[in-house]
């Protein structure tokens, strides 16, 4: 069975990858064959908000920032480090990136193609439950972050949940 060692990465950083690849050989080979390695320098844009999502991104090493924009306004959503999964919601959902991912330091990622991910999702029930659980945790975190941000602004604005505009 292929594993993270095959890609030459540390166990800790590759934990989600190891879990993803802990499938029967046929499914693991399918994922393995479609995986594309991405090496990037500081400032490189891995994908842009609104662009079609090509697949699921696994951060192997380095540091990346998730950034959202609307017209001239910009917002940094948070950082991603080794072991992080990016854009599971886009890969399993509407297929469009919800934010941009930019390297803050030289980084390595692995991208699993969307069509292969869907085939593996259909073929192997434990993998799909694992991806569903990961996606559910992402939704849960998003709820908490959104709520916390709104209440913070609510208190700051003295009653109205009006957010600060990051222009």
């Amino acid at each position: 069975m292929p594993g993270p060692a095959q890609f030459g990465y540390s166990d800790a950083a590759a934990r989600p990858l190891a879990e993803l690849l802990a499938c029967p050989p046929a499914v693991a080979n399918l994922l393995n064959a479609s995986a594309e390695s991405i090496e990037c320098d500081t400032g490189s844009v891995i994908f842009r908000q609104g662009d079609p999502c090509l697949g699921l991104y696994l951060v192997i090493s380095g540091r990346l920032l998730r950034k959202a924009e609307r017209f001239a306004a910009r917002l940094t959503l948070g950082a991603m480090q080794g072991g992080g999964l990016a854009e599971l919601a886009a890969a399993l959902g509407d297929g469009r990136h919800t934010y941009s991912l930019v390297a803050q330091a030289p980084s390595s990622l692995l991208m699993l193609r969307i069509d292969t991910l869907h085939r593996a999702f259909q073929a192997y029930p434990p993998l799909r439950m694992q991806l569903l659980q990961e996606l559910a945790r992402e939704v849960s975190r998003c709820y908490l972050a959104c709520t916390a941000a709104r209440f913070k602004e609510f208190r700051r604005s003295g009653g109205n949940p009006l957010p600060r505009v990051g222009r």
Binding site: R70, G93, F121, L132, Q133, R137, E138, C146, G159
Partner: protein
Amino acid sequence: MAGLHSHHPPEDCLNCEHRHLRMFCNLTPEALREYDSIGIMMSHARGAKLFSEGDAARNVFIICFGQVKISSTSRDGKTMILKIAGPGDVMGLSAVLANVPHEVTAEAIEPCQVKTVRKQEFVDFLGRHGIASMHAAQALSGEYLTVFHDAKRLALSGSAAGRLARLLLDWGRSASNGKPDIRFTMALTHEEIANMAGTSRETVTRLLNQFRRDQWITIKGSSMTIVKPEQLERLTA
């Protein structure tokens, strides 16, 4: 927000005339037969709480008809409305699958019919049917996008008028389902709309009156029609 209102509540999933219009329930015959056999159909009166923030997540809820307010309450008792869920929406899914307490409170804002499925029964069903899992993934992704866009709209929209215009357009387009007539039922109070748009009740009342005077919208009772969507669209820019 208005969604699809049915005057003929379905008795069961197999005979539901709206099934093909709804993402989650549009299953293969085999999956549908099993889906029909699990859970129970429950009716809820306006104001009924389906679950509360912090409760253990024991069930997944699928709305058959009616609308449900999804909100969150701060420690000092202030309530924020995050979204209005409508027919076909799945509630409680993220908490059930992530094995965490409910992140939000769900309250019926009109009489509702909701299919309620126990956690383990739902997880087993997903494990057996790939199509149901894919629909669950799409429901979760949709939920993620809604929350994400809500946060982004609030954080990055410059004016209260722009945020209110975006809300009205979103609700109108979702209810009109591609029809040219953008009309929907306004089930929320101005206070509740203000919570969603990130502004005050007074501002919502003033802006709605202004939109009406400019003949961009018309309001008859609880029914709102967007007459000039392009004008509202311009405000959101």
